[in-house]
Each structure stands twice: as structure tokens, then as C-alpha cells.
């Protein structure tokens, strides 16, 4: 379209361009710059070369955090790729009241991770509901240390992330299912294919691209976990601080007297590079499909 003055588009896009530069491009560049300095939350910022990266190599807490991320990913990936698809199939059919169920299933997604973690943290407490039920049914004699054991805390956080993510991926699958040809389904039904065979041969191939996308989204988000672990461990990172994620380390080093913004930036860069992996895989797979 035409516009009379040459600067009109720049005027309209101006605020967005300022935000693009100040709050997106500059922080990205500055992360790299800071990662070579010893900047502290309270000043400092001398160039220190590769010190931060050397420190990262010998950081046991980072090794733990990376291991936690791998475990997170290995458990979340299959669960959140399959369960939301089944859920989407369940709410796909237009039964009376289905909108209510869809909306309700999405509530954990819109709730803050802090709210969700506080609720579950209470339920998983030594005196909480889950331990109470376990004791009453005789499944456990003493309280199960869901929040104080290094591995159980991690598993609790994983369960929470899975529970909170169900609705999110359900909606993505629901959208994909809307695009799977209904005619194909009918044709298969007329040919005498049962529900299971129709699922395997019609639905599954139809949503395969979405499954790839969903698994990439899950991978990236399980590398970015923060609130669940932070709130369930009350900010401590569990026994010995071993239940931290990379993001929790970044947060820890960005504050207070013990903070180290330079090191936190090096960790940020590391986080970025790790999340790039799944995304590159996606573009590779998409190109192959096309």
C-alpha cells in the first residue's frame, strides 16, 4: 500500500524496533560479552577471558543440573508426546458439555507454575495428603520423602511438569486432529477397520508432523525448567543443592553478594546452545518431509 511520507512505516514500527534492539538483540549480544567478564550484581566487569568457561567445566553443580535435565527430558518426552494425544482424542468428539471439559483440562496451563507447585508441594509434604493416603492404605509405614530426597524431588518436579503440560499439548493435538481428513476415517470405517486400526493407520500418520513439533517443544521446555524445582525445594535446590536446573543456577548467580553475572552469562549461553539442538533437529526433519 502507498503512504505519503517515507517515514510513516518507521514511525509505526518504531517502538517495536526499539524493543527489538534494546530488549532482544542487545541482551543476546551482551550475554556473549558478559560471559568473558567477572561482572557482579554489585559492580565489577573486568575482562577475564575464558575463566567462566573453565569454571563451568569443573562445576559439579552444573554437572548435576545437566544430568537432571537429561532425566527430565527422558521422562517428559514420551509421557507428554503420548498422553495429550489420547486426551485430545477423548475431547475431540462433540459430546454435550465438551467445551467445559476442554476448558477445565486447560486450567493447569494458565495457572502460574508457582501456584501449581505450592499446591503439589503441600500434597507431597511429609504430612501431606499423598503420604496420608499411602499410610492409610498401608503402602508406606513412614512418610515417603518426596521433597527431601535427591531423586524423589526431581521425580516430583517431573510429575508436576507433566501434569501441568497435558492441556497445553492437548490443544495443539486438537488443532492438528481438526485437519486430519474425516473422509479418510469414514472410508476406513466402511472398509471395516476397527477403532484401533483406524487410529494406527489414519490418525497417527495424520498427526505425525505435529508429534515431531510437540516433542521438540517438550525437549526445549524441559531444558528450561525453573519454577517447579525452585518452589518444590523452597529455593534451595534440594539436598546439597543437587536438584537444580541450569536456569536455577543462572538465577542463583544473578543475585546478591555471592552472585556472578559473568558466570551466569556463560551458563545462559550454554543453555541457549543446548536448546538449539532440538530446534535444529526439527528444521532438519521438516526439510526432509518437504
Amino acid at each position: 500500500m502507498t503512504h505519503r511520507r517515507w517515514f510513516t512505516p518507521w514511525l509505526l514500527a518504531g517502538p517495536a524496533l526499539i524493543w527489538l534492539a534494546v530488549f532482544n538483540l542487545w541482551p543476546a549480544a551482551n550475554t556473549v560479552i558478559l560471559s568473558f567478564t567477572n561482572a557482579k550484581p554489585l559492580g565489577g566487569g573486568r575482562f577475564t577471558g575464558l575463566d567462566n568457561y573453565q569454571r563451568a567445566f569443573s562445576d559439579d553443580q552444573l554437572a548435576d543440573a545437566l544430568l537432571n535435565s537429561v532425566i527430565y527430558l527422558l521422562i517428559c518426552l514420551p509421557l507428554l508426546t503420548v498422553l495429550p494425544l489420547l486426551l485430545a482424542l477423548l475431547v475431540q468428539r462433540r459430546l454435550p458439555g465438551i467445551t467445559f471439559f476442554r476448558t477445565a483440562f486447560y486450567t493447569p496451563v494458565v495457572a502460574s507454575a508457582v501456584v501449581v507447585a505450592l499446591i503439589w508441594g503441600w500434597a507431597l509434604n511429609d504430612r501431606g495428603l499423598i503420604n496420608g493416603v499411602l499410610r492409610q492404605t498401608g503402602l508406606a509405614d513412614s512418610p515417603v520423602p518426596f521433597l527431601t530426597d535427591r531423586w524423589l524431588l526431581l521425580l516430583s518436579a517431573i510429575a508436576l511438569t507433566t501434569w501441568k503440560g497435558l492441556g497445553y499439548y492437548m490443544v495443539i493435538y486438537l488443532s492438528a486432529l481438526a485437519n486430519v481428513g474425516r473422509e479418510l476415517h469414514e472410508a476406513a470405517a466402511v472398509d471395516g477397520a476397527g477403532a484401533l486400526r483406524r487410529f494406527l493407520h489414519v490418525t497417527l500418520p495424520g498427526v505425525r508432523p505435529t508429534m515431531v513439533l510437540v516433542s521438540v517443544l517438550i525437549s526445549v521446555s524441559s531444558l528450561r525448567v525453573f519454577s517447579e524445582l525452585y518452589v518444590l525445594s523452597n529455593g534451595t535446590g534440594g539436598p546439597g543443592g543437587r536438584d537444580m536446573s541450569v536456569v536455577m543456577l543462572i538465577q542463583m548467580y544473578s543475585r546478591g553478594f555471592t552472585g556472578h553475572l559473568g558466570y551466569a552469562s556463560a551458563l545462559s549461553l550454554l543453555l541457549f546452545l543446548i536448546t538449539l539442538g532440538p530446534m535444529l533437529l526439527l528444521t532438519r526433519l521438516n526439510r526432509k518431509a518437504a
Partner: protein, 290 residues
């Protein structure tokens, strides 16, 4: 779903109509998932209404409060300034909504409808920002906000998210879908850019705009990591940070924490319940691609 009332051939009807047994099974499953997903929230709501004499710990808790009371909501305000926190969250969300609605509309229109040099470069840079996880830039983002003199302020919390690049791209897509013939007609009538944006563009992108408003509100209200890094002064906390603070300091009384979580949770549920039709309409049309 597209299994709509439109296709009324006998065969598709018989294909559509599930047997009573299948319908019953579906509802059973739906109710089971409902219990799993919404149960924890309802239980927390119930706890927040229980009086001090009621046992909230026991293994077989009464689901409904015996003596419902709103005392906990009043008492939580004695422990932490919870209403100040709610107001703080509201201020942050308000700034974010204003910035995104105005900034993204203007920029989205310019990118979609006006031709100018550099438009492709800007578009490319916008896309590039999407691969950058927000967690990877919080440190340098904090350094930027601090150098603007906005550390430990609500403005500092709100500013970086006040114009999201993703939303600019979404508005660009929405404006691009408006048929060019509409604008051409207005152009013939001598309408300038401002008139075309206001009278032709905006009425056609209201759906996308409402989705952006809802999700900007939810995102700002729920955010935890960023305000946790920016804010130090407990008077300036947003709700999520304040709740974690409450949990860390006074974990003894779960009724108060329950009341606090409900203050953070209920506004989100109301907003989402009121607006969900915008959201699910897009889903049914297969528009949400993740």
C-alpha cells in the same frame, strides 16, 4: 471439530453417533481426568475456606469445609501484603497489555501492509528472536534494566515484555490476512494510513488482538523468574514472588498459603473462562500450530 451439523447424509450420521456404551465410557474417562486435573485446585480452594479448628492434614480430609470462613483471606494479608502484591501484578500486567496492544498493532500493520526498505531485514530479525529462550537472556536483560535505573522497580519488571516480538509477528500475520481489496477501495477514496489502519485494519484483527490480550495478561500475571531477579524490596513483590516468600517464611499454616494461592489463581481462571471461546474457536479451525 468439523464433524459438524452440516453433513447430514445418513452414513455420516451413523458414523458420527457413538453407541450409548461408548458415550458412557467417554464420560467416565472425562470425569476421571477432570478429577485428576481440577481436583487439586478445588481441594486447595476448600482448604482456604476451612476454619482453624478443622484438620487440614489428616489422611482422609473432609472435602467440604465444616465451617466455611473467609478469615484466611483476611489473615494472609496480616502476614504478607497480599493485596499490594496483587496490585503490583496488576500494574505489571496492565503495562504489558497496553504496550503489546499498541506497539504490536502499529508494527504488525506496517510490516504487513506498507512497503519500505529494510522490511525483510526487520522480519528476519524478528523471527530470529524466537529461537532465543527467555531464560537465556534474563541476566543481560537484568543488566540492561539496571543500567536504565529500573532495578527493583515494577517498571523494570514490566518493560522488557511490554512489546513482545512474537506478538508483532502474530499481528503481522493477522493484518496480512485482511483482503487487500478492502484497503484499495479506501485508498481510492483518499484514506490515509491512519484512517486505513483504524477503520479497515483493526476491525478485522480483533480476534487476534483479544488472544494477545488474554495471553499477555496470563503471562505477566504468572511470571516468576524475571520478577524474582529484578525485585529485592518485599513491598514491591508481584504475587508469584510474594507467594513463594510466604511459603518460605510461614509454611506452618497451610490455610493461609491456600488462601494466597487462590488469590493468585482465581483471577486467571475467571479471565480464561470468560475468554476461552476466542481461544478454542481458533483451535477448532486448526489455527493453533504451537
Amino acid at each position: 471439530m468439523r464433524r459438524s451439523r452440516g453433513s447430514n447424509t445418513p452414513r455420516s450420521r451413523s458414523f458420527n453417533t457413538p453407541s450409548p456404551a461408548e458415550t458412557a465410557l467417554r464420560y467416565l474417562l472425562l470425569l476421571f481426568v477432570l478429577l485428576l486435573v481440577v481436583g487439586p485446585f478445588l481441594w486447595q480452594l476448600s482448604t482456604s475456606l476451612k476454619g482453624p479448628t478443622e484438620d487440614v492434614w489428616s489422611a482422609t480430609p473432609h472435602f467440604l469445609p465444616d465451617h466455611p470462613t473467609v478469615d484466611n483471606y483476611l489473615k494472609v494479608a496480616d502476614t504478607i501484603p497480599v493485596w499490594t502484591y496483587a496490585a503490583n501484578s496488576l500494574v505489571v500486567a496492565g503495562i504489558a497489555i497496553f504496550g503489546n496492544v499498541v506497539g504490536c498493532t502499529l508494527a504488525g500493520y506496517a510490516l504487513a501492509k506498507l512497503r519500505f526498505r529494510g522490511v525483510r531485514l526487520v522480519f528476519g530479525l524478528l523471527l530470529a528472536t524466537l529461537v532465543l529462550p527467555g531464560e537465556a537472556t534474563v541476566v543481560s536483560q537484568y543488566v540492561t534494566v539496571r543500567s536504565l535505573g529500573l532495578a527493583d522497580t515494577l517498571t523494570g519488571v514490566a518493560l522488557p515484555g511490554a512489546l513482545s516480538m512474537l506478538n508483532v509477528l502474530l499481528m503481522r500475520t493477522a493484518f496480512a490476512a485482511v483482503p487487500p481489496e478492502l484497503e484499495q477501495a479506501a485508498l481510492v477514496d483518499g484514506a490515509n494510513v491512519r484512517q486505513r489502519l483504524w477503520h479497515i485494519g483493526l476491525p478485522n484483527v480483533r480476534g487476534m488482538l483479544s488472544v494477545i490480550v488474554i495471553f499477555t495478561f496470563i503471562g505477566a500475571w504468572d511470571d516468576f523468574l524475571w520478577p524474582l531477579i529484578v525485585l529485592n524490596d518485599p513491598q514491591k513483590y508481584t504475587l508469584t514472588v510474594g507467594l513463594q516468600y510466604l511459603n518460605g517464611t510461614f509454611s506452618a499454616n497451610p490455610r493461609l498459603i491456600a488462601a494466597g494461592t487462590m488469590i493468585a489463581f482465581l483471577p486467571i481462571v475467571v479471565v480464561f473462562a470468560v475468554c476461552q471461546r476466542f481461544f478454542f474457536k481458533g483451535v477448532e479451525e486448526g489455527a493453533v500450530k504451537g
